[in-house]
Assembly symmetry: C2
Homo-oligomer: 326 residues x 2
């Protein structure tokens, strides 16, 4: 048991997305003017660091020692796994954007995560969503905290602001997968693959969304992270914890789709999870009605929970699937 | 402040519904054979007692010192407010039904409640839904716990079993109302009304569902409870906490409706709550798609949260409304 304890890694990420309210005529109204050394200081508070970087016209993307960070003109996304302390960055982030860009208006925030496998190993407020909410409530008025799914089994937590903040079309699609096929997980080890690019190719991740600018990292001795940049501010990001006793993969993207069926099929075929949950978040500007009847491509999976929420500005669908052992 | 503390009453009820799996040929297969003295012993564990009783062919209905109890052939409903300890009855209830009726099969259970106004005044596990879930998980395998709405503001908790248990058509409709119009609340005081029957008439409760057999109680100096029995096992029940600093009213019924609009209109017109939440629970046998677009009758109300859940055997709609101050 001791060796399992020692090798345990919490792949489940904490995910923060903050939208800032820039005035269009502000000369310094762009988060990307903030120097890298400032981001590095901020990330120290979360106990992680930058290990790779790529960019295109609309977005800066960083692979971190624990997951990823994305920065656009007016949006900041930080995703960190392990025992990172993401919420320690919230107040300093707001102060940083204020001091560097002169912007204090927060249009909306989204803090979300799946329940941890081992919450007792987390640090400070992250041991418990109630404590995370308490921390966020100190910072924000009108914060609304939700639990989707079963709070005594698998669930997904969300904290967001109860306001009509973001007016541009926005959607986030996530597939969080665990209890993965061991054979597929081997690809994400140094024993099997030479590099991030090698794992991206061997796994088929390169074919999920063709045409992306990919920044991929394979960790020693195992583990994998990639950021994919697409035109117009679209991205996708994948993180793999391959160890068989704590296997976990996350897929996240903001690419708009009428139906996510094909995307889901591609991702599931690569990782073969025994359990996975899907969240689809979309604001009313790009409203889509995500219906359970469309889930034809993985008919073999059992739906354990399905919930739909109307928020003031967004609609959210949460679905938890489990697949029979074949 | 001290006087407010002293007079505070937690109107918000704990609600338990248990369906038992009786074999049709069992001679003692009816919960109503259990003698009253046994129910009285059971209710002592919850810290409440029977104060009135009525029945019809399909259902026994009890008004309690704190809310209500209903017993049919195969279903037990216990609703208790204040600082009652409802969950202390779960294990003894199951033992009682086993010893008196020889039945151990539980088809499904539903334990639900709104968040309390003053959780710190509750006793034992009832201070916290997480503790209530822990208590229930000791008793049941495959229990699933959910939080609908905002866990840091107003929300509604549910614990149910993840199984295809109940096969007959079933639906429960609840309106939980608070921050009530003082003028309407006066009716439910001894100063204004002579008796339960008088309050039922003056308030208009008698007209909500015509034709019901009504058992109504007006408490000293204020407070009101009623059970209404209808043919074929249908019922409705209303409980009023009229004190202006902690006003609360609950309406619950299992009457089937294509649309609940008319019922909602009648109930809201009687109580004029500033805030209310609605839950509609229905199994697939009597599936209905409760759409938000149908809520025309209280268009003036603002929807704060709207959630829809597919469970294995039931669909649930949760909606929280707040009305502007007129």
């Amino acid at each position: 048991m001791a060796s399992v304890e020692e090798n345990f890694f919490e792949g489940t990420e904490k995910l923060l997305e903050v939208w800032f309210g820039f005035k269009t005529d502000a000369t310094n109204g762009d988060l990307r003017i903030i120097p890298r050394c400032e981001w590095e200081e901020l990330l120290k508070l979360a106990k992680c660091e930058i290990i790779s970087y790529c960019k295109n016209e609309d977005m800066d993307a960083y692979v971190l020692s624990e997951s990823s960070m994305f920065v656009t003109k007016d949006k900041f996304i930080l995703k960190t796994c392990g025992t990172t302390t993401l919420l320690q960055t919230i107040k300093p982030l707001i102060q940083l954007v204020d001091s560097q860009c002169g912007i204090r208006e927060i249009l909306d925030i989204f803090y979300s995560r799946k329940n941890f496998s081992r919450p007792e190993l987390q640090i400070g407020v992250h041991q418990n969503f109630v404590d995370e909410v308490g921390h966020l409530d100190k910072q924000f008025r009108d914060g609304a905290a939700y639990t989707l799914g079963r709070m005594n089994k698998d669930c997904w937590y969300l904290y967001t602001l109860d306001k009509h903040g973001v007016t541009q079309p926005d959607q986030t699609f996530e597939l969080l997968m665990w209890d993965m096929c061991d054979n597929r997980m081997k690809i994400f080890t140094k024993e099997f693959s030479e590099s991030g690019a090698d794992a991206t190719k061997k796994s088929g991740i390169c074919n999920i969304i063709p045409g992306a600018k990919i920044d991929d990292v394979l960790f020693e001795p195992c583990g994998y992270s990639m950021n994919g940049l697409l035109p117009d501010g679209y991205y996708f990001t994948i993180h793999v914890t391959p160890e068989s006793h704590c296997s976990y993969v996350s897929f996240e993207s903001n690419v708009p789709r009428e139906s996510y069926d094909e995307l889901i099929k591609k991702v599931l075929n690569i990782f073969c999870p025994r359990k996975f949950l899907m969240t689809v978040f979309a604001n009313r500007v790009r409203y889509f009605n995500f219906r359970i009847s469309k889930f034809r491509v993985y008919r073999i999976s059992l739906i354990q929970d399905h919930q739909f929420c109307n928020f003031k500005n967004y609609n959210l669908t949460y679905t938890l699937f489990s697949r029979p052992i074949l």
